[in-house]
Each structure stands twice: as structure tokens, then as C-alpha cells.
Symmetry: C2
Subunit: 98 residues, 2 copies
Amino acid sequence: MAGDAIKIASDQYKVVLENDRIRVLEYRDKPGSKTGMHYHPDVLAIPIASGKFKFTFEDGNSMEVELKPNEPVFMQGHSHITENVGDTACHVILVELK
Amino acid sequence: MAGDAIKIASDQYKVVLENDRIRVLEYRDKPGSKTGMHYHPDVLAIPIASGKFKFTFEDGNSMEVELKPNEPVFMQGHSHITENVGDTACHVILVELK
């Protein structure tokens, strides 16, 4: 399991709220930005500004995803590298479940 | 315990995603709109467009709250009436925890 998002990718993530049930992260990036491999537990991603991402997983597979406002995406716990492969700065709220 | 938000206040709430851990609601209203008394389990409110609300609780007490983008608010499970007492239409994503 890779490390914590806010340690591995501290330029992109910050913690905005945490309690015993959830941790809420704000993610902001720029076109071309790329994180190291990091772990999220089960997480809901709520896009505020849309973005086009490439996620690369620990097994080497990758997937491109377009996130759009008002279209939250739930992901089960896993590790990935996040790369902004679009031409816009992206802004996402992530709700990690404990 | 009051009824489900999406039954009691179907003009304001819709379900945008649900699984075994969470239910995600989108809330939209107009100035002056007022719901009936409804229940939320533990919930994270993520304001997209800011709003000024009056919440009235089952014991008759009430509280005014201003919700602002990038300032998520966590509330423990409870019932309330939601009234938009500001002069802007409001838009909030709610993540209910199961």
C-alpha cells in the first residue's frame, strides 16, 4: 500500500476537515501536474472544476477519466498516481471514509 | 425521527449516487424556500454556491448558518427544517454516511 495522499502529494492535497468517520481533502492542480503513488481509502470525489486525469495503478495499468461538476465519483480504496492530462486546472473535494 | 429528506423535500433534494456506505444528495433552492421537517444521518454538507439558512430543530430551537464554498460542514444525525433566509439561490452537495 502506497503512502498517504497528503504526504506524497502535498502540493495538490490539503486536509480541510477530519473527524472519526471521514477525512475531507481539497485537491487542486495544474495541467501537467503529476503526483507520486499514493493511497486513498474508500473515497468520494466531488469535482468542483472539471478535469481530465490519467490514473496509474500499482500493477502498472492506467485509465483516463474526465471528472465533471455535479458528477461525484465513488472509488474503493486503492493506490494510484494522478496526472492532469487536460488543459485546465482542476479542483476536487475528496471525502475519504474511515 | 422525521422522514427522509428526499421524500419530505423532493423539490430541493435529489439522489445523485448511492452505495452501501454513503448516499449523495444534491440540494438546490431559492431565496425563501422552506422544507418540511426531515432527517439526515451523519452528513457532510459541501457548499457549491453559498447560502444563508435558518435551521429549525425538533425541539423548536433554531440557528442561522451561512454556508460558503470550500468550507464543508459536518453535522451529526438529526432532524430539521431548512429555510433559505438569504437572497441567493443555494447549491449544496450532501454526503450522508450509513
